[in-house]
Symmetry: D2
């Protein structure tokens, strides 16, 4: 057991931080302005392409894809990638610069793991090159989608095709004008066993019957230019070969996807929270009220100390989860992945909220990343399963394991 | 001591609730759509005028203005108005229907109390009729404005005029196309005693030198069509008669305004929170996950119970504050006003957040009032003084009173 | 609605506070020393009898017993008694001085309501005179007793007698040498409907087969000289007439008892918490650290403010509950009684804990009431049903009421 | 970075756990009974000596003393010792079995580091052999002792002696009949610089003028047979050679002692908390209420999950602190030591409290370790500096470091 990053990780992190200092922070607000002033609200501002080229040139590209998918991706372990992902979380839009942004990361991993040669050529390769973007359609407005047996979207075989009918929302990525492909979760057999009813299928965005109904708001934000869409599937027909792996594999594919997806969210949230703390430290030193800088107030110091303790603990737990995933696989690491999914978003909400409070009205404004970070952290308490589902599973497993241990 | 509303209050509340049921809830979403689809983003949708006429006809108009200002206003006590204000808080935009929306309410009270006959004729009367809207310019981007000695905006006498220079933000109401008048807080004498440096002055929106720089976001929301503006005052000249009361009275006027202002915010927040709980009760009964409605989950029941306890306690404290204000005046009620300003926004944040969680992704969406309510509750933890300032004063007073009592 | 005590209540409260100032606080520590240095650990120190005489003489006696039991008791409403009960809670052992201490209060109310003429003559009258003490035996070590169907103690009819077998613990009052009578909850018919299985029966302490096994500790305290006993019932025989009301009435009697019992606990806890806050105000003014009194630290002021807000809210909720019980009966007030049972102990735990922290090591010592108050508050989160049971019922009722309301 | 214990640590931990299973848990309650039934309340029960012999024989002895003091102690790093210390924390009295109990550990470390050859021979060696016990006298009743400049105990040179006058309390260890030596903190020069006023001096328990006034209670517990004493020093004379290192070194010695002392407390508290969670898992599986085991209740599962997350995070932070102390020294590790001192006791209080709640009345009783564990955790929020002092320092340092970094 030791607690320093490996020299390989440290070198990459230094390089990434340098890139952030040189290329991201100086244009952070400019990019956001470009997004919000863009008459084509869902088109990514042009400056993104330049930044992507620079990141590629710096060797900071596709860092997320684990070594088992080499030669695709950078071949890092989860433990190596974790601090890099955290650093990207400090400026939320920066992940795309490094081709490490959701939901593309999860989709690329799914395609690398479960895609056919043709799927890889057609969708994975352009995604890995950052030429197109993608979406993931899972949540449905009509049902509590965290229970996968509730999913109502139907995927029905008809000759050489599958016909898809249903309504999804919070389909991340689907608003973007460059989004070309969707991974869709639905049911091929509602009568099968709980976890064999679901399948996942590839649906090109321009397929007939696919309607983008509207952009969904998340805690006040539309998250342009990526966005979250309500999508209607009305007799959408795709070739049977678009089905990933086989009928009934949808739940297993989702599970495989969610482990890494969750840890990425957690690392980014730790970056968000650390950024919020850094901003708070700066702010309380600058602001004077009632005769002294806020930094001299005991309650401010107590808050700052508590924020640091909360962040550092969540960081260590997440790094340990990454280590467990690397060494024992996602299945064995299941409980610790649930644990970080519970811990990190709550921690980030608390920390960012305290930073907002220390910033006064400015903390709620568009001039600081704080309120957008808060919205991100808050929605992650629901995305990929609400806290309660993870606590239910983790609690149940802990009791079972403990009782098993004392019986044995 | 007893805990039922008076029959007068109950009758008004029944009438108001009936009005909400008939005229507000059925068009709640339609009004929000009208706002967001309006090409003139800062113009109030036309349907508002009809609703205002109906409210006037129903005798539900200017309910906020206390009896000391009769014949202006409805002449209710704070205790009588409190449950009405709570009811309006259930649908945030509805307060304007009854001419009870901030910052007009505070501005009208200030004009009724401190305005000259001419001020009343020119500004108070059209405001009371709902013909124009108004803004309040206090907070400044450059300083911690909760400490009034930090205010930098200069109000300098020059012959028969005052010249105003400074930069304000979060000037509520100033974005609206029908906003005609601003109450501006600034300093007439930075060398005077701490609480005699400030003055308040009336500035018509169309005065030369007034520039609306941009709308400010609050936790992701621009709150169209009312909004919060950044406003630049560049050698703005107004007649000397526009100064309220006299030089050095600005702090006292602000204090007089903030008592009622705070209790109104608190009552509205209690309405927001109760609405969030009502929505949660409905949602958990409808949604099924893992084989049963959420309402059967023990943790859901515990949350619902806790939300209710939190709301009811804050409500009682706020009603007691209203009663103290009515019977002993705002000065004597100072500590309990501080107490509700600490309690109610925090309570509302917690309750609404839990309701969001029970709603899943929908809770973060534009389809429910929840995330906008959360943003409102969160910003009130900063508006009219951050929690910390109220806790500082309340804590200091409690210690002083206690130590005084045992010495006596 | 108004928030001042009636003049009758205020006069009683003034008299009681004066009594506390003159007779209780000056000997508070002396009484505790008398208890702890008493070689007869479970005998009440002699000074108690003098204090009781003085209280009787002052007309501060049996204040708890509601007006429906006149001529027994002082005939106060719950709302009138509540602030008096709070005042007694400031010094925990003082309730006995006024013959208002648990479990005697609950037992007296049960005897007044359900006892036969003979029961009243034999047990109620000496209890009302403060001549004897009593115990209440409900909780059992072997089962989760908050679910009354779990109760295992058997009460079996045998001719003119009932035979009782079972094991109870946390039988409050049973350790005291002057305890003469126990009210015992058991099952007469385990096959009846859920809430008709239980009966309550009177068991004199000196009945053959009753064994006091040991005193139970509650968070480190034995609470001498009253205590909580583990009691074994081994073929205990009592006359059939000792059964209260009739077979199957035990659950209903328990419910009737618990409403007032809970509100008394809550009021006392509010007194504990207010005392803890008063002590904190004094302490932080006296203690100097790092160059200034603790009272000047912003975080101390914030804590003090928060403690006050928490206490005042719980107090208002409890007073409202008392008012509802008085006007609509305990059944209608069921939900608000659940609410205060959830709110008050948690509030008291938080407030007392913060006061302990401000006191440093002294706060954990026998020199201050704080840690004993904490232990009391903590155990009340479990006594008379753990928080979770009350939240379950309150949550379920709120959802049902709300859904009923919108369907209607 | 990796997160598994070294094979050396794991082997020691396995051996220790086996020892706990074989020799400690089976007699855990028996030892406590022996303590509480002992007429000589402050004498350690005889069975302790046997257990110590067995621990010595098993090579589980003096594990706490770091490698820099070899050949004294077991020569483990902090990181190696941490999980062992955690394991001992599961049964609080067990640390003495392994000669790893406070305050002896801190005293031994001080003697090893700062003691003269004679001090070592006379006091350190018998302590290391477990032949005698010791006490540490720092806290004073009259002042806020967390600010070392407040210390009032005077240590005045008089010829070849020092004369000590003052009053201490919460002098841990001083009640025990086998306690032979005290380390006393006092002031040799109240006019020197803040941190040069204090000195530490060795005072044999049987020195004339030393009076054990009384045992102090900590949250209801006297913690027999070790205890916390109030000690009066009335013209106590000891040889000048008893002063450790030199005049003015007292603060530095205290700082050196507190680093390891704090991490030991934190590790033990993690053991307490883990034990509380293990007990909870067992309990909720056994107890049935309202028709199902508590373990099937969603709120129970959520609590269990949260408890686990809290423990695991605090554990990782504490292990990292140990690693930092080992590699960079206690001075560099200052901030993370402050962090664990803030985090671990609060975590333990929360976790143990939840376990108590799940246990019902039993959780507050002497039949489970829970309420004593809670009392220990609660007092550690005050011992070695209250949370607020650590937060003050950590907060201040974080702000300074951050502002320094951005200026650099």
């Amino acid at each position: 057991m030791h607690f320093d990053y490996s020299s390989k990780t440290q070198a990459l992190l230094d390089k990434l931080n340098q890139f952030m200092d040189q290329h991201i922070y100086p244009v952070e607000q400019q990019y956001l302005d470009a997004v919000h002033n863009n008459p084509k609200r869902w088109a990514t501002p042009a400056m993104m392409e330049d930044l992507k080229d620079q990141a590629k040139a710096a060797g900071l590209w596709n860092l997320f894809l684990p070594k088992e998918y080499l030669p695709y991706g950078a071949g890092l372990t989860n433990l190596e990638y974790a601090p890099l992902c955290e650093a990207m979380g400090r400026a939320l839009w920066s992940a795309e610069v490094f081709n490490c942004s959701a939901p593309d990361t999860g989709n690329m991993e799914v395609l690398a793991k479960y895609g056919s040669a043709e799927h890889k050529k057609k969708w994975l390769e352009p995604l890995l090159k950052g030429q197109i973007r993608s979406a993931f359609a899972m949540t449905e407005p009509a049902v509590a989608s965290s229970d996968a047996t509730n999913i109502e979207t139907a995927i029905v075989r008809d000759g050489d095709e599958y016909v898809i009918n249903g309504r999804k929302w919070y389909t991340s990525g689907a608003m973007n004008t460059n989004c070309k492909i969707m991974v869709v979760m639905g049911k091929t057999d509602p009568t099968a066993d709980r976890h064999r009813q679901q399948s996942q299928i590839l649906v090109p965005m321009d397929t007939a019957g696919v309607t983008i109904v509207r952009p969904m708001q998340a805690m006040g934000y539309y998250d342009e230019p990526v966005g979250h869409a309500e999508v209607l599937f009305d007799n959408v027909r795709v070739p049977a070969a678009n089905l990933l792996v086989g009928e009934g594999e949808g739940f297993a594919i989702a599970q495989g996807r969610l482990g890494p997806g969750r840890i990425h969210h957690c690392m980014r949230l730790i970056g968000c929270a650390q950024r919020a703390l850094d901003l708070a430290c700066e702010r309380v030193e600058q602001r004077v009220a009632f005769g002294q800088p806020l930094s001299k107030q005991q309650s401010v110091r107590e808050s700052i100390a508590q924020m640091h303790c909360d962040i550092e603990q969540a960081r260590l737990l997440t790094l340990k989860a990454a280590d467990q995933m690397d060494r024992y696989g996602n299945k064995v690491a299941r409980d610790i992945i649930a644990a970080i999914k519970i811990v990190a978003p709550n921690m980030a909400c608390r920390v960012i909220d305290q930073s907002i409070q220390m910033h006064g009205a400015a903390g709620t404004s568009q001039d600081f990343v704080l309120s957008a970070s808060y919205a991100y952290a808050r929605t992650i308490k629901l995305a990929d399963g609400p806290d309660q589902v993870h606590m239910m599973q983790l609690g149940r497993n802990l009791i079972k394991d403990h009782v098993g241990a004392i019986k044995a």
